[in-house]
Amino acid sequence: GAGVSQSPSNKVTEKGKDVELRCDPISGHTALYWYRQSLGQGLEFLIYFQGNSAPDKSGLPSDRFSAERTGGSVSTLTIQRTQQEDSAVYLCASSLELFPYEQYFGPGTRLTVT
C-alpha cells in the first residue's frame, strides 16, 4: 500500500519568503507528526496531531512555524519569513494511533534557505 508521501522533495527559497510543506499520511492513520532533521541537531519533534484533538505544538521553535491538518488527513507545515537556520530536512510521520504505535516516516522535504 501507499506510504507517507511528502511534497516537494526539495525546496530552495530566499530568506524572508514563506514556504508550505505538504504531508499525505497513510490512509486511516489518526496520528500525524512533523519532525525536523538538521546537521548537528539530529531529529527534533515539531508538532503532532491526533484525530480531532488540539495539536501538540510544544516543539515548534518559533511563532513563524505553524501547521494544520485538514479533514484528519493531509497536513501542511508553514514557515513564515524563513531564516537560514530553518534549512533542514522536514520529516512527516503517521501512525495508526499515538505512541506506542509504530510511526511510518515519509522521505522528507529538504528545505534550503539562501
Binding site: V4, Y33, G42, F45, Q50, D56, F99
Partner: protein
C-alpha cells in the same frame, strides 16, 4: 541538552566485522526504539524494547534494553554493506508527550 546520547557518532568498518552502538540517557524510558535511515529516506523502525534487561534479535542485529531502562545497545554481527546507514535510537520523552525524542544517530559505513 540532548536527552539521548548515541555513540560512536561515526563508524567505518569492513564487511564481516562486529560492532556495537550505544544509546544512553540519564532519564528512564518506558520503551526505546531503534530506527535505521538511508540517504534520502525517512527512518524505518527496527525494534521496540520495553522491558528492562530485554534482549531482542533481528537476524544479525541484537538489541538490548538496560535493566534500569536508561540505556540500550545495538550489536551487529558480521556486518554487511547493506547495513550501511544512520542508526537512531528514540524514546518517548518525559516532556514530549507522544512524540519521540531521538538521539543524534550513529552513521555506519560498511565497506566490502
Amino acid at each position: 541538552t540532548q536527552l539521548l546520547e548515541q555513540s560512536p557518532q561515526f563508524l567505518s568498518i569492513q564487511e564481516g566485522e562486529n560492532l556495537t552502538v550505544y544509546c544512553n540517557s540519564s532519564s528512564v524510558f518506558s520503551s526505546l526504539q531503534w530506527y535505521r535511515q538511508e540517504p534520502g529516506e525517512g527512518p524505518v523502525l527496527l525494534v521496540t524494547v520495553v522491558t528492562g534487561g530485554e534482549v531482542k534479535k533481528l537476524k544479525r542485529l541484537t538489541f538490548q534494553f538496560g535493566d534500569a531502562r536508561k540505556d540500550s545497545s545495538l550489536h551487529i554481527t558480521a556486518a554487511q554493506p547493506g547495513d550501511t546507514g544512520l542508526y537512531l535510537c528514540a524514546g518517548e520523552g518525559p516532556n514530549s508527550g507522544y512524540a519521540l525524542n531521538f538521539g543524534k544517530g550513529t552513521s555506519l559505513l560498511v565497506t566490502p
